[in-house]
Subunit: 126 residues, 2 copies
DNA sequence: GCAGTCGTACGATAACCTTCGTAGTACGGC
DNA sequence: GCCGTACTACGAAGGTTATCGTACGACTGC
């Protein structure tokens, strides 16, 4: 009910009622992206999405939190412009907005991902 | 007193009582750095410190907040391992821990700084 | 149509973060 | 010794966040 006209201005052509609102490319803010990536759960999600490469359903990424919390983290990532979410039947597919992020902040995503991998390797082999 | 043995393990050779505790290089976490940089005030501080290059006193960076809040942000930056703070008379000098950050997360700081500059230019000329 | 799976919405709670004001400490100059 | 400057510590208000549980809506398969 009334999902498109009362809340946000950056609704990217919501044709179906079951469409999700994403920020446009020039609505994405660096601070928001950094904040989204500064949470361990969300950084883990982004790393798995980047490793998968293609679209991945929410439930295929296992997190040590409840489903409600998982939904919350995916929503934060979407609203900060880091991932794109599309309904596909009963599942919701997730993918990194690599083109938008690379255009706005060249190299940022790759640098953060490799930094995360460096740190993970360092914490496993001390 | 007893400032060195009860709270933390990573106290970098505190000789004087007026020494500040910094995390050691391998205590710095990527999530902490990203969180520190995700605040507009702190990102601004880091940008000015990077532009200055050398050590800068706290009061030479003007922020639209009170001095208490400024102290708080500098402390967060220090505790996350982004800056190094040293007392120098009545002033406290601040510098970016570039060597440590570059060793842990190669390219991260420069990428974030250039992303911040890109965004600032984009927001000024829309 | 019915049941099962996938994900959402809403309420609640506890923790955290940002900001401020005030009071206080350390250092340098008179 | 005394005062001014630079910064800190503490307490508090206000908002945001992360987490959970439960109840609900959407789609698929029988």
């Amino acid at each position: 009910m009334g999902a498109t006209d009362d809340s946000g201005a950056a609704v990217t052509t919501a044709t179906s009622p079951r469409e999700l609102a994403h920020p446009a490319r020039d609505e994405i803010r660096l601070e928001g992206v950094l904040h989204a990536l500064s949470d361990p759960m969300r950084l883990r999600v982004v790393r798995e999405l980047a490793a998968a490469g293609a679209e991945v359903s929410c439930s295929s990424i296992e997190l040590p939190v409840t489903k409600s919390t998982t939904t919350h983290h995916f929503r934060v990532l979407r609203e900060c412009g880091v991932i794109r979410q599309v309904y596909r039947g009963t599942a919701k597919m997730n993918g990194i907005r690599r083109a938008d992020l690379d255009a706005l902040f060249p190299g940022l995503l790759d640098t953060v991902l490799s930094a995360a991998e460096n740190q993970a390797a360092r914490l496993e082999n001390p």
